[in-house]
Protein backbone atom coordinates (compact mmCIF):
# COMPACT_ATOMS: atom_id res chain seq x y z
CA UNK A 1 0.00 0.00 0.00
CA UNK A 2 1.36 3.42 -0.95
CA UNK A 3 0.85 5.73 1.99
CA UNK A 4 1.31 9.49 2.03
CA UNK A 5 2.04 10.97 5.45
CA UNK A 6 1.39 14.71 5.50
CA UNK A 7 2.64 16.30 8.70
CA UNK A 8 2.43 20.03 9.23
CA UNK A 9 2.91 22.74 11.81
CA UNK A 10 5.25 25.53 12.82
CA UNK A 11 8.19 24.29 14.93
CA UNK A 12 8.77 27.87 16.06
CA UNK A 13 5.40 27.85 17.84
CA UNK A 14 6.01 25.30 20.54
CA UNK A 15 3.53 22.39 20.41
CA UNK A 16 2.40 23.46 16.94
CA UNK A 17 5.57 21.65 15.91
CA UNK A 18 4.20 18.22 16.92
CA UNK A 19 3.55 17.20 13.31
CA UNK A 20 7.07 18.08 12.07
CA UNK A 21 8.56 16.42 15.18
CA UNK A 22 6.78 13.16 14.35
CA UNK A 23 7.90 13.36 10.72
CA UNK A 24 11.50 13.99 11.81
CA UNK A 25 11.53 10.76 13.82
CA UNK A 26 9.97 8.74 10.99
CA UNK A 27 12.52 10.07 8.50
CA UNK A 28 15.12 7.95 10.23
CA UNK A 29 13.12 4.76 9.86
CA UNK A 30 12.91 2.40 6.91
CA UNK A 31 9.27 2.56 5.83
CA UNK A 32 8.83 1.06 2.35
CA UNK A 33 5.85 2.47 0.47
CA UNK A 34 5.54 5.47 2.73
CA UNK A 35 6.06 8.99 1.37
CA UNK A 36 6.80 11.56 4.06
CA UNK A 37 5.89 15.20 3.50
CA UNK A 38 6.38 17.88 6.13
CA UNK A 39 5.53 21.54 5.82
CA UNK A 40 4.39 24.58 7.75
CA UNK A 41 0.89 24.23 6.43
CA UNK A 42 -1.13 22.19 4.00
CA UNK A 43 -1.10 23.46 0.42
CA UNK A 44 -3.53 23.02 -2.46
CA UNK A 45 -0.94 21.09 -4.47
CA UNK A 46 -0.94 18.46 -1.73
CA UNK A 47 -4.18 17.35 -3.41
CA UNK A 48 -2.09 16.25 -6.38
CA UNK A 49 0.25 14.21 -4.17
CA UNK A 50 -2.71 12.68 -2.36
CA UNK A 51 -4.17 11.50 -5.66
CA UNK A 52 -0.95 9.58 -6.35
CA UNK A 53 -1.29 7.45 -3.18
CA UNK A 54 -3.71 4.86 -1.85
CA UNK A 55 -4.17 6.39 1.57
CA UNK A 56 -3.15 9.62 3.28
CA UNK A 57 -2.39 10.16 6.95
CA UNK A 58 -2.53 13.76 8.13
CA UNK A 59 -0.58 14.61 11.27
CA UNK A 60 -1.10 17.83 13.19
CA UNK A 61 -1.20 19.25 16.69
CA UNK A 62 -4.53 19.45 18.43
CA UNK A 63 -5.43 22.30 20.73
CA UNK A 64 -8.22 20.65 22.67
CA UNK A 65 -8.59 17.10 21.38
CA UNK A 66 -8.27 13.88 23.40
CA UNK A 67 -4.99 13.02 25.12
CA UNK A 68 -2.54 11.75 24.09
CA UNK A 69 -3.91 11.72 20.52
CA UNK A 70 -6.78 10.60 18.37
CA UNK A 71 -6.82 8.82 15.04
CA UNK A 72 -9.95 9.57 13.08
CA UNK A 73 -11.11 9.21 9.48
CA UNK A 74 -11.42 12.29 7.29
CA UNK A 75 -14.18 12.51 4.70
CA UNK A 76 -13.78 14.61 1.57
CA UNK A 77 -15.71 17.85 1.68
CA UNK A 78 -17.38 19.00 -1.51
CA UNK A 79 -18.68 22.34 -0.36
CA UNK A 80 -16.16 24.43 1.41
CA UNK A 81 -15.27 27.99 2.16
CA UNK A 82 -11.65 28.10 1.23
CA UNK A 83 -8.55 30.05 2.15
CA UNK A 84 -5.21 29.17 0.67
CA UNK A 85 -3.61 30.25 3.92
CA UNK A 86 -4.43 26.99 5.58
CA UNK A 87 -6.20 24.33 3.56
CA UNK A 88 -8.34 21.90 5.51
CA UNK A 89 -7.71 18.16 5.34
CA UNK A 90 -11.21 17.40 4.09
CA UNK A 91 -10.94 20.11 1.44
CA UNK A 92 -7.74 18.52 0.16
CA UNK A 93 -9.47 15.15 -0.13
CA UNK A 94 -12.30 16.87 -1.98
CA UNK A 95 -9.85 18.56 -4.35
CA UNK A 96 -8.06 15.28 -4.96
CA UNK A 97 -11.33 13.65 -5.91
CA UNK A 98 -12.69 16.51 -8.00
CA UNK A 99 -9.50 17.61 -9.74
CA UNK A 100 -7.65 14.33 -10.15
CA UNK A 101 -10.42 11.73 -10.00
CA UNK A 102 -9.03 9.85 -7.02
CA UNK A 103 -11.06 9.34 -3.86
CA UNK A 104 -8.34 8.56 -1.37
CA UNK A 105 -9.11 7.42 2.19
CA UNK A 106 -7.79 9.90 4.72
CA UNK A 107 -6.93 9.67 8.41
CA UNK A 108 -6.05 12.39 10.83
CA UNK A 109 -3.61 11.78 13.66
CA UNK A 110 -4.25 14.73 15.95
CA UNK A 111 -1.67 14.87 18.73
CA UNK A 112 -2.70 16.91 21.72
CA UNK A 113 -0.63 20.04 22.34
CA UNK A 114 -0.88 22.53 25.17
CA UNK A 115 1.07 25.70 24.40
CA UNK A 116 1.49 27.51 21.09
CA UNK A 117 3.65 30.47 21.95
CA UNK A 118 5.64 32.08 19.13
CA UNK A 119 9.43 31.78 19.02
CA UNK A 120 9.54 28.74 21.29
CA UNK A 121 11.11 25.81 19.48
CA UNK A 122 10.70 23.07 22.11
CA UNK A 123 7.66 20.96 22.88
CA UNK A 124 6.05 21.08 26.31
CA UNK A 125 6.89 17.98 28.42
CA UNK A 126 3.36 16.57 28.16
CA UNK A 127 3.29 17.12 24.40
CA UNK A 128 6.56 15.22 24.15
CA UNK A 129 4.95 12.30 25.99
CA UNK A 130 1.96 12.47 23.65
CA UNK A 131 4.29 12.49 20.66
CA UNK A 132 5.96 9.29 21.82
CA UNK A 133 2.59 7.63 22.30
CA UNK A 134 1.52 8.70 18.82
CA UNK A 135 4.72 7.32 17.33
CA UNK A 136 4.27 4.01 19.11
CA UNK A 137 0.77 3.85 17.65
CA UNK A 138 1.60 4.93 14.11
CA UNK A 139 4.95 3.30 13.34
CA UNK A 140 3.69 -0.32 13.21
CA UNK A 141 0.76 0.78 11.07
CA UNK A 142 3.03 2.47 8.56
CA UNK A 143 5.33 -0.54 8.42
CA UNK A 144 2.41 -2.88 7.75
CA UNK A 145 2.78 -4.82 11.00
CA UNK A 146 -0.69 -3.65 12.04
CA UNK A 147 -3.58 -2.72 9.70
CA UNK A 148 -3.63 1.03 9.18
CA UNK A 149 -7.37 1.46 9.19
CA UNK A 150 -9.06 0.42 12.44
CA UNK A 151 -12.61 -0.80 12.32
CA UNK A 152 -13.83 2.19 14.27
CA UNK A 153 -12.41 5.52 15.22
CA UNK A 154 -9.51 4.67 17.44
CA UNK A 155 -8.48 6.34 20.61
CA UNK A 156 -5.85 4.99 22.97
Amino acid sequence: MRILLLAWGNPARQDDGLGPALAAVLEGQDLPGVTLSCDYQLQVEDACAISEHEVVVFVDASLDGPEPFEFVPVEPRQQVSFSSHSVATDALLGLSERCFGRRVPGWLLAIRGYAFEPFVETLTPQAQINLEAALAFLAPRLSGAVPLAPADTERP
Binding site: V44, E45, V80, S81, H85, R98, C99, P118
Partner: protein, 483 residues
Protein backbone atom coordinates in the same frame (compact mmCIF):
# COMPACT_ATOMS: atom_id res chain seq x y z
CA UNK B 1 -25.22 43.29 14.07
CA UNK B 2 -25.03 45.61 17.09
CA UNK B 3 -26.25 49.13 17.81
CA UNK B 4 -23.93 51.71 19.37
CA UNK B 5 -24.83 54.23 22.05
CA UNK B 6 -24.87 56.96 19.40
CA UNK B 7 -27.57 55.14 17.49
CA UNK B 8 -25.32 54.00 14.69
CA UNK B 9 -25.68 50.38 13.68
CA UNK B 10 -22.56 48.35 13.27
CA UNK B 11 -22.20 45.57 10.73
CA UNK B 12 -19.14 43.40 11.14
CA UNK B 13 -17.95 40.97 8.48
CA UNK B 14 -15.43 38.48 9.73
CA UNK B 15 -13.32 36.68 8.99
CA UNK B 16 -12.62 38.02 5.55
CA UNK B 17 -12.71 34.74 3.72
CA UNK B 18 -10.40 33.90 0.87
CA UNK B 19 -7.72 36.45 1.75
CA UNK B 20 -4.47 35.36 3.32
CA UNK B 21 -4.66 35.51 7.10
CA UNK B 22 -7.47 37.12 8.99
CA UNK B 23 -8.97 40.55 9.14
CA UNK B 24 -12.18 42.23 10.10
CA UNK B 25 -14.32 44.65 8.22
CA UNK B 26 -16.45 47.11 10.14
CA UNK B 27 -19.12 49.05 8.36
CA UNK B 28 -20.80 51.85 10.25
CA UNK B 29 -24.45 52.36 9.45
CA UNK B 30 -26.69 55.19 10.61
CA UNK B 31 -30.31 54.80 11.64
CA UNK B 32 -31.39 54.91 8.00
CA UNK B 33 -29.00 52.06 7.14
CA UNK B 34 -26.80 54.45 5.19
CA UNK B 35 -23.09 53.72 5.27
CA UNK B 36 -21.16 56.33 7.15
CA UNK B 37 -17.78 54.63 7.26
CA UNK B 38 -16.13 51.31 6.42
CA UNK B 39 -12.80 50.02 7.66
CA UNK B 40 -10.64 46.99 7.17
CA UNK B 41 -9.06 46.14 10.50
CA UNK B 42 -5.87 44.21 10.89
CA UNK B 43 -6.21 42.58 14.27
CA UNK B 44 -3.09 40.55 14.76
CA UNK B 45 0.06 42.19 16.01
CA UNK B 46 3.20 40.67 14.56
CA UNK B 47 6.04 42.67 16.11
CA UNK B 48 8.79 41.16 13.99
CA UNK B 49 10.77 44.39 13.86
CA UNK B 50 11.21 44.17 17.61
CA UNK B 51 11.67 40.40 17.79
CA UNK B 52 14.69 40.40 15.47
CA UNK B 53 16.65 43.00 17.42
CA UNK B 54 19.73 41.44 18.97
CA UNK B 55 19.80 38.51 16.58
CA UNK B 56 22.85 37.97 14.31
CA UNK B 57 22.31 39.66 10.96
CA UNK B 58 22.96 36.52 8.93
CA UNK B 59 19.89 34.88 10.48
CA UNK B 60 17.54 37.43 8.92
CA UNK B 61 16.88 35.81 5.51
CA UNK B 62 15.66 32.68 7.29
CA UNK B 63 14.13 34.25 10.39
CA UNK B 64 11.97 36.93 8.74
CA UNK B 65 10.30 34.39 6.49
CA UNK B 66 8.30 33.39 9.54
CA UNK B 67 6.29 36.52 8.81
CA UNK B 68 4.41 34.52 6.26
CA UNK B 69 3.74 30.97 5.18
CA UNK B 70 2.34 32.13 1.87
CA UNK B 71 4.98 34.49 0.46
CA UNK B 72 8.10 33.70 2.51
CA UNK B 73 10.36 33.89 -0.56
CA UNK B 74 9.69 37.61 -0.80
CA UNK B 75 10.86 38.20 2.76
CA UNK B 76 13.75 35.81 2.25
CA UNK B 77 14.98 37.73 -0.79
CA UNK B 78 14.30 41.24 0.52
CA UNK B 79 16.28 40.43 3.68
CA UNK B 80 19.09 38.89 1.64
CA UNK B 81 19.22 41.97 -0.58
CA UNK B 82 19.44 44.25 2.45
CA UNK B 83 22.25 42.13 3.86
CA UNK B 84 24.10 42.16 0.53
CA UNK B 85 24.48 45.84 1.28
CA UNK B 86 25.60 45.11 4.83
CA UNK B 87 28.33 42.72 3.68
CA UNK B 88 29.46 45.28 1.12
CA UNK B 89 28.21 43.54 -2.01
CA UNK B 90 26.77 45.94 -4.57
CA UNK B 91 26.73 43.42 -7.41
CA UNK B 92 26.05 39.72 -7.06
CA UNK B 93 27.75 37.08 -9.17
CA UNK B 94 25.82 36.06 -12.28
CA UNK B 95 24.94 32.76 -10.65
CA UNK B 96 23.84 34.42 -7.43
CA UNK B 97 21.52 36.89 -9.13
CA UNK B 98 20.05 34.43 -11.62
CA UNK B 99 19.30 31.78 -9.00
CA UNK B 100 17.59 34.39 -6.84
CA UNK B 101 15.61 35.65 -9.81
CA UNK B 102 14.50 32.15 -10.71
CA UNK B 103 13.36 31.66 -7.12
CA UNK B 104 11.45 34.94 -7.24
CA UNK B 105 9.75 34.23 -10.57
CA UNK B 106 8.74 30.80 -9.25
CA UNK B 107 7.29 32.53 -6.21
CA UNK B 108 5.40 35.12 -8.24
CA UNK B 109 4.08 32.46 -10.61
CA UNK B 110 2.72 30.19 -7.91
CA UNK B 111 1.37 33.00 -5.77
CA UNK B 112 -0.53 34.67 -8.61
CA UNK B 113 -1.83 31.33 -9.87
CA UNK B 114 -3.06 30.38 -6.43
CA UNK B 115 -4.73 33.72 -5.92
CA UNK B 116 -6.51 33.71 -9.24
CA UNK B 117 -7.61 30.12 -9.51
CA UNK B 118 -8.47 29.43 -5.91
CA UNK B 119 -9.47 32.76 -4.42
CA UNK B 120 -10.79 34.90 -7.27
CA UNK B 121 -12.08 32.60 -9.98
CA UNK B 122 -15.13 31.44 -7.98
CA UNK B 123 -16.39 35.03 -7.87
CA UNK B 124 -15.75 35.61 -11.56
CA UNK B 125 -17.00 32.26 -12.86
CA UNK B 126 -20.16 32.03 -10.77
CA UNK B 127 -20.93 35.69 -10.23
CA UNK B 128 -20.81 37.88 -7.15
CA UNK B 129 -24.29 36.80 -6.03
CA UNK B 130 -23.88 33.06 -6.47
CA UNK B 131 -24.58 30.71 -3.57
CA UNK B 132 -21.50 30.72 -1.29
CA UNK B 133 -21.81 26.92 -1.10
CA UNK B 134 -20.93 26.84 -4.80
CA UNK B 135 -18.79 29.97 -5.07
CA UNK B 136 -15.52 28.40 -3.94
CA UNK B 137 -12.70 26.38 -5.45
CA UNK B 138 -14.44 23.05 -4.86
CA UNK B 139 -17.39 24.47 -6.74
CA UNK B 140 -15.08 25.36 -9.61
CA UNK B 141 -13.55 21.88 -9.57
CA UNK B 142 -16.98 20.25 -9.45
CA UNK B 143 -18.44 22.17 -12.39
CA UNK B 144 -17.65 20.32 -15.63
CA UNK B 145 -17.22 23.67 -17.41
CA UNK B 146 -14.39 24.71 -15.12
CA UNK B 147 -12.86 21.47 -13.88
CA UNK B 148 -9.87 21.75 -16.19
CA UNK B 149 -9.29 25.27 -14.95
CA UNK B 150 -9.14 24.08 -11.35
CA UNK B 151 -6.67 21.33 -12.24
CA UNK B 152 -4.56 23.83 -14.13
CA UNK B 153 -4.49 26.09 -11.08
CA UNK B 154 -3.19 23.29 -8.87
CA UNK B 155 -0.53 22.29 -11.39
CA UNK B 156 0.68 25.87 -12.00
CA UNK B 157 0.96 26.36 -8.27
CA UNK B 158 2.83 23.04 -8.00
CA UNK B 159 5.28 24.05 -10.71
CA UNK B 160 6.12 27.33 -9.01
CA UNK B 161 6.50 25.63 -5.65
CA UNK B 162 8.90 23.12 -7.15
CA UNK B 163 11.01 25.94 -8.60
CA UNK B 164 11.14 27.49 -5.13
CA UNK B 165 12.16 24.18 -3.61
CA UNK B 166 14.93 23.67 -6.17
CA UNK B 167 16.40 27.13 -5.67
CA UNK B 168 15.86 27.65 -1.96
CA UNK B 169 15.95 24.11 -0.59
CA UNK B 170 12.33 24.00 0.63
CA UNK B 171 8.89 24.93 -0.65
CA UNK B 172 8.33 27.11 2.39
CA UNK B 173 10.96 28.87 4.46
CA UNK B 174 13.99 27.88 2.41
CA UNK B 175 17.58 28.88 2.94
CA UNK B 176 18.95 29.44 -0.58
CA UNK B 177 19.68 33.18 -0.45
CA UNK B 178 22.50 34.22 1.87
CA UNK B 179 24.17 37.61 2.37
CA UNK B 180 26.22 38.18 -0.77
CA UNK B 181 24.71 35.45 -2.93
CA UNK B 182 23.20 31.98 -2.99
CA UNK B 183 24.19 28.68 -1.43
CA UNK B 184 23.44 26.26 -4.27
CA UNK B 185 23.41 25.71 -8.00
CA UNK B 186 20.42 24.34 -9.85
CA UNK B 187 20.43 20.56 -9.97
CA UNK B 188 20.65 19.33 -13.62
CA UNK B 189 17.79 16.88 -13.14
CA UNK B 190 15.54 19.59 -11.77
CA UNK B 191 16.48 21.87 -14.64
CA UNK B 192 15.49 19.18 -17.15
CA UNK B 193 12.22 18.65 -15.28
CA UNK B 194 11.38 22.35 -15.34
CA UNK B 195 12.33 22.77 -18.99
CA UNK B 196 10.04 19.90 -19.91
CA UNK B 197 7.07 21.73 -18.39
CA UNK B 198 7.76 25.40 -18.96
CA UNK B 199 6.13 25.73 -22.39
CA UNK B 200 2.94 24.35 -20.90
CA UNK B 201 3.15 26.92 -18.10
CA UNK B 202 3.56 29.76 -20.61
CA UNK B 203 0.61 28.48 -22.63
CA UNK B 204 -1.63 28.12 -19.60
CA UNK B 205 -0.61 31.60 -18.45
CA UNK B 206 -1.66 33.03 -21.81
CA UNK B 207 -4.99 31.21 -21.68
CA UNK B 208 -5.67 32.38 -18.14
CA UNK B 209 -4.81 35.92 -19.13
CA UNK B 210 -7.32 35.65 -21.99
CA UNK B 211 -9.96 34.38 -19.57
CA UNK B 212 -9.36 37.27 -17.19
CA UNK B 213 -9.25 39.79 -20.02
CA UNK B 214 -12.48 38.47 -21.49
CA UNK B 215 -14.24 38.59 -18.15
CA UNK B 216 -13.18 42.19 -17.58
CA UNK B 217 -14.30 43.25 -21.05
CA UNK B 218 -17.65 41.49 -20.71
CA UNK B 219 -18.36 43.06 -17.33
CA UNK B 220 -16.59 46.39 -17.68
CA UNK B 221 -19.69 48.44 -17.06
CA UNK B 222 -20.17 46.76 -13.70
CA UNK B 223 -16.49 46.57 -12.82
CA UNK B 224 -15.29 50.01 -13.87
CA UNK B 225 -16.47 51.75 -10.73
CA UNK B 226 -16.40 48.77 -8.39
CA UNK B 227 -14.12 49.73 -5.50
CA UNK B 228 -12.37 52.14 -7.83
CA UNK B 229 -10.74 55.15 -6.22
CA UNK B 230 -8.19 57.17 -8.21
CA UNK B 231 -4.79 57.16 -6.54
CA UNK B 232 -1.03 57.25 -7.08
CA UNK B 233 0.99 54.15 -7.97
CA UNK B 234 4.43 53.07 -6.76
CA UNK B 235 6.91 50.29 -7.58
CA UNK B 236 10.54 49.74 -8.35
CA UNK B 237 11.66 50.02 -11.97
CA UNK B 238 15.02 49.80 -13.69
CA UNK B 239 16.95 52.93 -14.67
CA UNK B 240 15.29 52.91 -18.10
CA UNK B 241 11.86 52.38 -16.56
CA UNK B 242 11.72 48.69 -17.40
CA UNK B 243 9.43 46.51 -15.29
CA UNK B 244 11.49 44.43 -12.84
CA UNK B 245 10.18 42.33 -9.97
CA UNK B 246 13.58 41.67 -8.40
CA UNK B 247 15.61 44.87 -8.49
CA UNK B 248 15.43 48.58 -9.26
CA UNK B 249 14.78 52.04 -7.86
CA UNK B 250 11.52 53.51 -6.62
CA UNK B 251 9.19 55.33 -8.99
CA UNK B 252 5.87 56.89 -8.00
CA UNK B 253 3.33 58.50 -10.33
CA UNK B 254 0.12 60.41 -9.67
CA UNK B 255 -3.36 59.70 -11.05
CA UNK B 256 -2.51 61.47 -14.30
CA UNK B 257 0.78 59.68 -14.77
CA UNK B 258 2.98 62.57 -13.68
CA UNK B 259 6.16 61.60 -11.86
CA UNK B 260 6.07 62.27 -8.10
CA UNK B 261 9.52 60.77 -7.60
CA UNK B 262 11.71 58.52 -9.69
CA UNK B 263 14.92 56.53 -9.42
CA UNK B 264 15.02 56.82 -5.63
CA UNK B 265 17.60 54.30 -4.51
CA UNK B 266 16.45 51.69 -1.97
CA UNK B 267 18.65 53.13 0.79
CA UNK B 268 16.91 56.50 0.32
CA UNK B 269 13.33 55.21 0.61
CA UNK B 270 12.83 57.05 3.88
CA UNK B 271 13.43 60.39 2.14
CA UNK B 272 10.23 59.95 0.12
CA UNK B 273 8.05 57.70 2.30
CA UNK B 274 6.91 58.19 5.91
CA UNK B 275 4.64 56.00 8.04
CA UNK B 276 1.64 56.98 10.15
CA UNK B 277 0.10 54.97 12.99
CA UNK B 278 -3.66 54.87 13.63
CA UNK B 279 -5.36 53.76 16.81
CA UNK B 280 -7.69 51.21 15.22
CA UNK B 281 -5.19 49.08 13.32
CA UNK B 282 -1.86 47.44 14.03
CA UNK B 283 -0.85 48.15 10.46
CA UNK B 284 1.07 51.30 9.66
CA UNK B 285 -0.14 53.72 7.03
CA UNK B 286 2.72 54.76 4.74
CA UNK B 287 2.43 57.98 2.73
CA UNK B 288 4.43 60.05 0.29
CA UNK B 289 6.22 62.66 2.34
CA UNK B 290 5.85 65.41 -0.23
CA UNK B 291 2.06 65.02 -0.24
CA UNK B 292 1.47 64.36 3.46
CA UNK B 293 -0.71 61.68 5.12
CA UNK B 294 -4.03 63.06 3.84
CA UNK B 295 -3.17 62.96 0.14
CA UNK B 296 -0.01 60.89 0.01
CA UNK B 297 -1.39 57.35 -0.03
CA UNK B 298 -0.70 55.15 -3.01
CA UNK B 299 -1.21 51.65 -4.34
CA UNK B 300 1.40 48.96 -4.93
CA UNK B 301 1.17 45.54 -6.55
CA UNK B 302 0.38 44.32 -10.07
CA UNK B 303 -1.88 47.22 -11.07
CA UNK B 304 0.61 49.78 -9.75
CA UNK B 305 3.48 48.05 -11.55
CA UNK B 306 1.63 48.15 -14.89
CA UNK B 307 1.08 51.87 -14.34
CA UNK B 308 4.61 52.82 -13.30
CA UNK B 309 6.75 50.83 -15.73
CA UNK B 310 7.73 52.09 -19.17
CA UNK B 311 7.84 48.63 -20.70
CA UNK B 312 8.20 44.92 -19.91
CA UNK B 313 11.20 43.05 -21.27
CA UNK B 314 9.43 39.82 -22.24
CA UNK B 315 7.48 39.90 -25.52
CA UNK B 316 4.21 38.23 -24.58
CA UNK B 317 3.78 40.17 -21.35
CA UNK B 318 4.76 43.44 -23.04
CA UNK B 319 2.15 42.98 -25.75
CA UNK B 320 -0.40 42.24 -23.01
CA UNK B 321 0.66 45.33 -21.05
CA UNK B 322 0.28 47.62 -24.07
CA UNK B 323 -3.20 46.25 -24.72
CA UNK B 324 -4.13 46.59 -21.03
CA UNK B 325 -2.98 50.20 -20.77
CA UNK B 326 -4.64 51.27 -24.01
CA UNK B 327 -7.91 49.58 -23.24
CA UNK B 328 -8.36 50.52 -19.59
CA UNK B 329 -6.11 53.53 -19.18
CA UNK B 330 -6.54 55.46 -22.40
CA UNK B 331 -3.16 57.09 -22.04
CA UNK B 332 -3.31 57.47 -18.28
CA UNK B 333 -2.69 55.11 -15.36
CA UNK B 334 -5.38 52.44 -14.98
CA UNK B 335 -7.53 53.07 -11.92
CA UNK B 336 -10.08 50.23 -12.16
CA UNK B 337 -9.71 48.32 -8.89
CA UNK B 338 -10.79 45.00 -10.41
CA UNK B 339 -8.14 45.43 -13.13
CA UNK B 340 -5.71 44.12 -10.51
CA UNK B 341 -6.68 40.64 -11.69
CA UNK B 342 -5.90 41.32 -15.35
CA UNK B 343 -2.59 42.93 -14.35
CA UNK B 344 -1.79 39.96 -12.12
CA UNK B 345 -2.24 37.58 -15.04
CA UNK B 346 0.12 39.69 -17.19
CA UNK B 347 2.69 39.27 -14.44
CA UNK B 348 2.04 35.54 -14.28
CA UNK B 349 2.83 35.33 -17.98
CA UNK B 350 5.92 37.47 -17.50
CA UNK B 351 7.15 35.20 -14.69
CA UNK B 352 6.68 32.14 -16.92
CA UNK B 353 8.56 33.82 -19.76
CA UNK B 354 11.38 34.78 -17.41
CA UNK B 355 11.64 31.27 -16.01
CA UNK B 356 11.89 29.90 -19.56
CA UNK B 357 14.64 32.40 -20.31
CA UNK B 358 16.59 31.58 -17.15
CA UNK B 359 16.25 27.81 -17.39
CA UNK B 360 18.30 27.93 -20.57
CA UNK B 361 21.05 29.95 -18.88
CA UNK B 362 24.20 27.94 -17.98
CA UNK B 363 25.03 30.30 -15.10
CA UNK B 364 22.42 28.51 -13.00
CA UNK B 365 24.44 25.31 -13.10
CA UNK B 366 27.94 26.58 -12.38
CA UNK B 367 29.98 29.62 -11.41
CA UNK B 368 30.76 31.55 -8.26
CA UNK B 369 27.78 31.72 -5.96
CA UNK B 370 28.84 34.37 -3.46
CA UNK B 371 30.48 37.80 -3.73
CA UNK B 372 32.27 39.59 -0.87
CA UNK B 373 32.92 43.18 0.13
CA UNK B 374 33.60 45.54 3.02
CA UNK B 375 31.17 45.43 5.93
CA UNK B 376 28.70 48.32 6.33
CA UNK B 377 26.36 49.30 9.16
CA UNK B 378 23.10 49.61 7.25
CA UNK B 379 21.31 47.70 4.53
CA UNK B 380 18.05 48.25 2.66
CA UNK B 381 16.57 45.68 0.30
CA UNK B 382 13.52 46.31 -1.88
CA UNK B 383 11.76 43.72 -3.96
CA UNK B 384 8.46 43.58 -5.80
CA UNK B 385 6.69 40.81 -3.95
CA UNK B 386 3.62 39.28 -5.63
CA UNK B 387 1.44 41.64 -3.62
CA UNK B 388 3.61 44.72 -4.09
CA UNK B 389 6.67 46.61 -2.97
CA UNK B 390 8.43 45.07 0.03
CA UNK B 391 11.06 47.04 1.95
CA UNK B 392 13.49 45.56 4.49
CA UNK B 393 15.80 47.96 6.35
CA UNK B 394 18.35 46.83 8.95
CA UNK B 395 20.93 48.65 11.05
CA UNK B 396 23.63 46.25 12.22
CA UNK B 397 25.76 46.89 15.31
CA UNK B 398 29.51 46.34 15.47
CA UNK B 399 28.91 42.96 17.17
CA UNK B 400 26.97 41.81 14.07
CA UNK B 401 23.57 41.90 15.76
CA UNK B 402 20.49 43.68 14.45
CA UNK B 403 20.17 47.07 16.15
CA UNK B 404 17.12 48.28 14.23
CA UNK B 405 14.74 46.75 11.72
CA UNK B 406 12.02 48.42 9.69
CA UNK B 407 9.84 46.37 7.38
CA UNK B 408 7.19 47.87 5.10
CA UNK B 409 5.25 45.03 3.55
CA UNK B 410 3.06 45.16 0.46
CA UNK B 411 -0.22 44.99 2.31
CA UNK B 412 0.90 47.89 4.50
CA UNK B 413 1.44 50.09 1.45
CA UNK B 414 -2.04 49.10 0.27
CA UNK B 415 -3.63 49.70 3.66
CA UNK B 416 -5.23 53.05 2.90
CA UNK B 417 -6.15 52.10 -0.69
CA UNK B 418 -7.97 49.02 0.62
CA UNK B 419 -9.84 51.13 3.15
CA UNK B 420 -10.85 53.56 0.41
CA UNK B 421 -12.02 50.74 -1.84
CA UNK B 422 -13.97 49.10 0.98
CA UNK B 423 -15.69 52.38 1.74
CA UNK B 424 -16.44 52.96 -1.95
CA UNK B 425 -18.02 49.53 -2.32
CA UNK B 426 -19.91 49.86 0.93
CA UNK B 427 -21.35 53.22 -0.06
CA UNK B 428 -22.23 52.04 -3.57
CA UNK B 429 -23.53 48.60 -2.76
CA UNK B 430 -24.84 48.50 0.79
CA UNK B 431 -26.55 51.80 1.50
CA UNK B 432 -30.29 51.50 1.81
CA UNK B 433 -30.40 47.92 0.56
CA UNK B 434 -31.11 44.62 2.15
CA UNK B 435 -27.89 43.20 3.47
CA UNK B 436 -27.37 39.90 1.74
CA UNK B 437 -24.39 37.57 1.67
CA UNK B 438 -23.84 38.62 -1.91
CA UNK B 439 -23.63 42.26 -0.95
CA UNK B 440 -21.31 41.51 1.93
CA UNK B 441 -19.17 39.47 -0.38
CA UNK B 442 -18.77 42.50 -2.64
CA UNK B 443 -16.82 44.18 0.12
CA UNK B 444 -14.60 41.14 0.38
CA UNK B 445 -14.22 40.99 -3.40
CA UNK B 446 -12.84 44.52 -3.38
CA UNK B 447 -10.33 43.59 -0.69
CA UNK B 448 -9.40 40.42 -2.53
CA UNK B 449 -8.50 42.47 -5.62
CA UNK B 450 -5.47 43.71 -3.69
CA UNK B 451 -4.54 40.13 -2.71
CA UNK B 452 -3.74 41.18 0.84
CA UNK B 453 -1.67 39.06 3.17
CA UNK B 454 -3.06 40.07 6.52
CA UNK B 455 -1.15 37.88 8.93
CA UNK B 456 0.04 34.40 9.64
CA UNK B 457 -0.86 32.41 12.69
CA UNK B 458 -0.70 29.00 14.24
CA UNK B 459 -3.31 26.69 12.87
CA UNK B 460 -3.53 23.67 15.14
CA UNK B 461 -6.61 21.51 14.76
CA UNK B 462 -9.55 22.98 16.61
CA UNK B 463 -8.22 26.50 16.71
CA UNK B 464 -9.07 29.54 14.64
CA UNK B 465 -6.75 32.37 15.69
CA UNK B 466 -9.34 35.03 15.17
CA UNK B 467 -9.98 37.99 17.41
CA UNK B 468 -13.21 39.92 17.25
CA UNK B 469 -13.07 43.66 17.88
CA UNK B 470 -15.86 46.21 17.89
CA UNK B 471 -15.18 49.93 17.55
CA UNK B 472 -17.41 52.96 17.73
CA UNK B 473 -17.43 55.75 15.20
CA UNK B 474 -14.67 57.58 17.08
CA UNK B 475 -12.40 54.55 16.96
CA UNK B 476 -13.02 53.50 20.56
CA UNK B 477 -12.87 49.77 21.22
CA UNK B 478 -16.28 48.62 22.48
CA UNK B 479 -15.78 44.88 22.72
CA UNK B 480 -13.24 42.23 21.91
CA UNK B 481 -13.64 38.47 21.66
CA UNK B 482 -11.36 35.64 20.62
CA UNK B 483 -12.78 32.61 18.88
Amino acid sequence: MTTTQTGQRRLVIEPVTRVEGHGKVTIMLDEQDQVTQARLHIVEFRGFERYVQGRPYWEMPVLVQRLCGICPVSHHLAAAKALDMVVGVDELTATGEKMRRLMHYGQTFQSHALHFFHLVSPDLLFGFDADPAVRNVIGVATDPRFQELAVRGVLMRKYGQEVIQATSGKKIHGTGAIPGGINRHLDPERKAHFLAGIDQMVEWSEQTLDLCKGYTRDHLEELAGFGTVPMSSMSIVREDGCFDLYDGNLRCIDVDGNIIFDQVKPEDYHTVIAEEVKSWSYMKFPFIKALGPEKGWYRVGPLARMNTCTYIDTPLAEAARVEFMEELGGGKPVQVCMAYHWARMIETLHAAEKMRELLNDPDLMSGERVATGTRRGTGVGIIEAPRGTLIHHYDVADDDTIAMANLIVSTTHNNEPMNRSVTKVAVDELSGKEITEGLLNRVEIAIRAYDPCLSCATHAVGRMPLEISLYDAEGKLLDQKAT
